[in-house]
């Protein structure tokens, strides 16, 4: 499988560039006043949050016309991955302001070192902390599947391996082919964990950066955020909505009711379990971090591992049950859920929350931070519902979730009916996620 090496080079370049862009944007967003900062954070995360299947579906027609220009196809595909993964570095930048601290930097300016040496020292101090976001972005880029599959990218090892496995290749042979990507990902994971441990050990408490005057907002970050959100989320939704309306009322036919029920059930359970488990993992610090490893390997390697596991004697009876798929979804959601738990924990140290927690009763404390857990559940629910790869490998017969059906149908190209179906599925998922907010409101009333 010689698509591994081009994929590796591509992922490395995208990870380095994505980390730079993400940290630049993250630092800028952190310096913004609270309200516009939230909007900018939303714009930053939007390309990551939209299901990659929709982006690939929207750009499929364009890339079809580049069939005779493989280099251009690769470039467009790489760009789509870059804008999708860069926000992760931006979010990490918001959670983990990059060392060195301002005090360290001030001490550096007091030395007699030249600019170049100071820059080099500053880079060396920051390097261990850069390993985590760069490694995570590498894993995301390296393990990308949905866009590569729908856009017909030949240099994606994930597509080659998935097609071979789904096409009947014996599991043992698939594992053999996956050994090189697995080794690459294992090495990167080591770097990620090393960087994360280094940050926790050497993290210095940092005062919030002074918020900039509204008048001094530079335009360059906005010149990135708005077009990128437009070209990913905006364009994808435009294609879906335009085609669905064009095909009205035929596009309202929705033959996927059963698949949708399956999606909602699996997504709800997986999100719930991942929320609880991520709290436990985060609060036990180093003791349970190993639980994050399977999810960080990516959906294809995880899916293959579980296919093999549930074909072993003793577990084979569970193979065609919901269990393998639920396990895979929970493991996949665990790393982002744990990262977001850390993000939420940052806010729990604020004095107002500390005071609320000191007061009798839980109502105020829940109002201040419990609701954020619900938003976490919202995100996890959407991610679980839109997962394609492990779902395609592990869904029990007759319980195919909707996004796998959409993925299969999208290979035939764009159509008004399919766009209507995709919007319908997404609408149902969002409605299901809103149920979590309704539960949150119920909890607030009963406290």
């Amino acid at each position: 499988m010689n698509a591994v090496w081009p994929g590796l080079v591509r992922a490395l370049i995208l990870a380095l560039v994505g980390t730079s862009i993400g940290f630049w944007l993250g630092a800028w967003i952190r310096s913004q006043p609270r309200r516009p900062g939230r909007w900018y954070l939303g714009l930053l995360l939007a390309p990551f949050l939209i299901p990659p299947l929709f982006v690939a579906y929207a750009y499929g027609q364009f890339l079809l016309h580049l069939q005779l220009y493989p280099t251009l196809r690769e470039a467009v595909y790489s760009l789509l991955i870059l804008v999708r993964i860069a926000p992760v570095a931006g979010l990490i930048s918001c959670c983990f302001p990059l060392p060195p601290s301002r005090e360290s930097l001030h001490c550096l300016t007091l030395t007699s070192f030249g600019t170049a040496r100071r820059g080099w020292l500053r880079f060396r101090m920051a390097l261990p902390s850069l390993l985590t976001p760069t490694g995570l972005l590498f894993l995301l880029a390296f393990g990308e599947f949905e866009m590569a599959s729908l856009l017909g990218i030949q240099t994606a090892w994930t597509v080659q391996l998935f097609d071979a496995q789904a096409g009947g290749q014996p599991w043992v042979q698939s594992v053999r082919q996956a050994s090189v990507p697995l080794a690459v990902e294992a090495l990167v994971l080591l770097a990620v964990f090393f960087g994360f441990r280094h940050h926790f050990r050497s993290a210095e408490p940092q005062e919030p950066e002074p918020k900039r005057n509204k008048r001094s907002r530079p335009l360059l970050p906005q010149a990135y955020l708005l077009p990128v959100a437009g070209l990913t989320v905006g364009f994808s939704l435009f294609v879906l909505v335009f085609q669905a309306l064009r095909g009205w009322p035929g596009s309202t036919r929705f033959p996927m009711a059963a698949e949708l029920l399956n999606t909602l059930a699996f997504a709800f359970l997986a999100a719930l379990a991942a929320m609880g488990l991520s709290r436990v993992v985060y609060e036990t610090r180093a003791r349970l971090w190993w639980l994050l490893i399977p999810g960080l390997l990516g959906p294809l390697l995880l899916g293959l591992a579980l296919v093999g596991l549930f074909q072993m004697k003793g577990l084979h009876s569970l193979y065609n049950t919901p269990v393998p798929l639920l396990v895979s979804l929970i493991l996949l959601l665990l790393p982002p859920a744990t990262l977001l738990q850390h993000f939420l924990a940052q806010n729990r140290t604020q004095p107002s929350i500390h005071l609320a927690q000191s007061l009798p009763g839980k109502k105020l404390a829940y109002h201040l931070h419990g609701s954020r857990q619900t938003w976490l559940g919202f995100l996890l629910f959407i991610w679980a519902g839109t997962e394609v790869l492990t779902t395609a490998l592990l869904a029990p017969v007759g319980h195919t979730p909707a996004f796998v059906r959409l993925y299969n149908l999208m290979h035939y190209g764009q159509s008004d009916a399919l766009s209507g179906m995709a919007l319908g599925v997404m609408g149902a998922l969002l409605s299901g996620a809103l149920l979590l907010l309704a539960i949150d409101a119920w909890i607030r009333r009963t406290l």
Partner: protein
């Protein structure tokens, strides 16, 4: 944490009910279906409505088609989950028959289909076929004939010719027939040469159709059902049947079989007879895929386009007895795919 349990327990119970309530011997009939879900879904839902027998279906991806389901049936041989296998080609079905994974059934449907398209002992039966065709862009080929195709293929740059990856589906069947007629070495040499000349390998027959329809490619191999989908969508397409070196057309039927070990045999047989009925063949002929009936249908009941295609049936290759060629061809294709 107690709040999580309060929510998780009833949710798990509901999921368990949803799942286990549908399994077991009184559960739904399990169909593994390699046919495009776009068309198969309607047929199976009509069967459910007519008979009251519930059906759960596992489809395959466009990229890998029946090969994944065939391997799944093999893996499940000790505890088969599938009751009926609806395949979109024949060669894979022959492999399953050879391995003893099918059970014979000769019902009303089997009797209706001509001998050339069924196993004499009833292990499988063909129905609703499609044709391998050249598809061309109308601007480039005002008339798509054998000679205009051959003239086009003489040029050194064939980067505007496309076909689906031959590892799967009807393209694999096409290659197996070429393997048989041309010989292994000649086919391998031809494949190497056209790939060096730029002939594109893409994700499926539908992608080939789309490339030609959009004018990105001039010519391609696909099936009649994909051709008609493109034509109905307004693409400027023309087609001509593919002929093998011996002059035969490549007529590829859907096939259906009862899986050995099925615990719902009576219901499975009803579905098989339903799929092989005149009603279903006519429905598939009138669907967007314009599948060609193999059994007798009333005169004038077929769309004109399907009538014209049915005339090629008599020139069709014999697809039975190609297991050895299939195995050898597939092994070679997998070896070159691994190197790419």
């Amino acid at each position: 944490m107690a709040r999580w349990l309060i929510l998780l327990v009833p949710a798990l119970a509901a999921l368990g009910f949803l799942f286990f309530g549908q399994s077991g011997e009184d559960g739904a009939l399990v169909v593994y279906c390699a046919h495009d879900s776009l068309y198969a879904d309607e047929v199976l839902k009509a069967f459910e409505k007519e008979t009251g027998i519930r059906v759960t279906t596992r489809f395959d991806t466009e990229a890998t088609k029946s090969l994944g389901l065939i391997e799944l049936i093999r893996r499940e041989r000790e505890n088969p989950r599938c009751d009926v296998f609806w395949n979109n080609e024949l060669l894979g079905m022959l492999s399953l028959q050879k391995e003893g994974l099918l059970e014979p059934y000769q019902g009303l449907g089997h009797a209706r289909i001509p001998d050339a398209f069924k196993d004499p002992n009833g292990y499988w039966t063909g129905f609703a076929a499609r044709l391998r065709v050249w598809v061309g862009h109308r601007d480039r080929f005002p008339e798509l004939t054998e000679s205009s195709i051959q003239t086009y293929l003489q040029q050194p740059d064939l980067s505007q010719v496309a076909m689906a990856k031959p590892l799967y589906g009807t393209t694999l069947t096409h290659y197996v027939l070429l393997w048989k007629e041309m010989g292994a070495e000649a086919l391998q040499q031809w494949h190497k040469q056209v790939r060096e000349q730029g002939w594109q390998e893409v994700g499926g027959n539908a992608v080939t159709m789309r490339l030609v329809g959009e004018g990105v490619c001039d010519l391609g191999w696909t099936d009649t059902d994909d051709f008609f989908v493109g034509l109905d969508a307004g693409k400027p397409l023309v087609m001509s049947p593919v002929r093998t070196p011996s002059g035969s057309t490549i007529f590829i039927p859907n096939t259906v079989a009862l899986i050995n070990g099925s615990k719902k045999k009576n219901r499975a047989r009803r579905l098989i007879d339903y799929l092989l009925s005149e009603q279903v063949e006519l429905a598939l002929a009138h669907s967007r895929s314009r599948q060609i009936p193999l059994g007798p249908v009333p005169p004038g009941s077929l769309p004109t386009a399907v009538e014209r295609l049915a005339a090629y049936r008599d020139d069709g290759c014999d697809l039975i007895g190609l297991e050895a060629e299939r195995a050898a061809c597939l092994a070679w294709l997998k070896s070159i795919d691994a190197r790419q």
